[in-house]
């Protein structure tokens, strides 16, 4: 799994947050734009790009983008 690509896909789910703000260590749930709708878009992106089903707990238990990436990796 390509780390830069995942971060880019992740960033694309946001309208207002600048792409440069997204790093592996970004605590995404602290971003101002993060809400339940963006969460659904991230779930859909992971489903489409990686064919992986992540749960609400997977999202809630991830602090950084790297954490979420690890979840996707483990479920692949």
């Amino acid at each position: 799994m390509n780390k830069e690509e995942f971060i880019q896909f992740f960033a694309e789910q946001f309208d207002e947050t600048e792409p440069e703000e997204f790093k592996a260590e970004t605590e995404f749930r602290q971003l101002e734009e993060w809400d339940s709708m963006v969460a659904l878009m991230v779930i859909a992106m992971i489903d489409e790009e990686y064919n992986v089903k992540v749960s609400g707990d997977d999202i809630r238990n991830s602090t950084t983008i790297a954490d979420l990436m690890a979840v996707v990796e483990s479920k692949k």
């Binding site: 339940s36 709708m37 969460a39 659904l40 859909a44 489903d47 089903k53 749960s55 609400g56 707990d57």
Partner: protein
Amino acid sequence: MAFLEIPNVSIKGMAATMPANRKDNLTDPLVNDAEKILKNTGIQYRHLADEGMTASDLCEDAAKRLLSDLKWNAEEVDCLIFVRQTPDYILPASATILQDKLGLSQNAYALDVAMGCSGYVFGLSNIAALMQSGHFKKGLLLVGDTISRTCSVNDKSTYPLFGDAGTATALEYKEGAPTMKFHFGTDGSGKDAIIIPDGGSRNPFSEDSAREEDIDEGISRSKAQLVLEGMDVFSFGISKAPQSVKALLEHFEIDQETVDNFAFHQANLFMNEKIRKKLKIDPEKVPYSLPKYGNTSCATIPLTLISERKEALEKGSQKNVGCGFGVGLSWGSVYFETENLTISEIGILK
């Protein structure tokens, strides 16, 4: 495998009844961020049952008008199935009450089926399976809920989404009728994704059940009210619904191009559009009643066909796919052909 094929039963007509009380999400003071909700969910209006109005009342009204439009006598109806999650009582079954209220014969077979979002597909398989041998000639499938009454008005994850409705589908035994084709799936490990925790036998209703608790920002509810874990349901819906439709079409070698209408459970626009796009279905073949009625639980599939496809279903033949997915977790898809259906006007119950 969970595939089923049922011959000799055809759908003759459909009807739906809505509660008179209609809410507009854009003007409802209980709905925050209404424009965003409208954009993401597609839901503007919802019809809400007043206190004392039940799903069986709505279905009774729909059934009476449908029987009249079909010119059927109530005594001719051999069997009735009522699909719901909001029965009149814990016991007896509401189907028995409906037998009496509709004036069905005491020789009629009456049964409740406790299913939600996938309930129309399950109910259709139940009643068609009962009727296929020809012992029962005429049947009524009543499908509806007053699910809004289980939502906390202080829960943004449920309150703006759900509406109430009752529907009736009339079926008749007809030798040689095109077979109905089904696919089903079940995953009880996902039971907590959509649940009303208290009030059943596992957690009987107690003083504690009625206490409203803060769960998250914009989400306060009691344990006797509906829980909807949006992320889990979304993740489930966008994978299982397309898989089920695909399995149905492939197993029975149905060409997707020949299907006229794909009536999906109306969950929310964002999820439903993901499902449609995954299956690469032309938008014109996928009707939505979400803007007018919201998510009406088990009633969404017939309600969508009635409100969005009345003319096409009344005049000529149509090939239809229905797909329900949700609470259980449970999901199912059905293929059925119709010809010159009787579709009653949508009723309003005060």
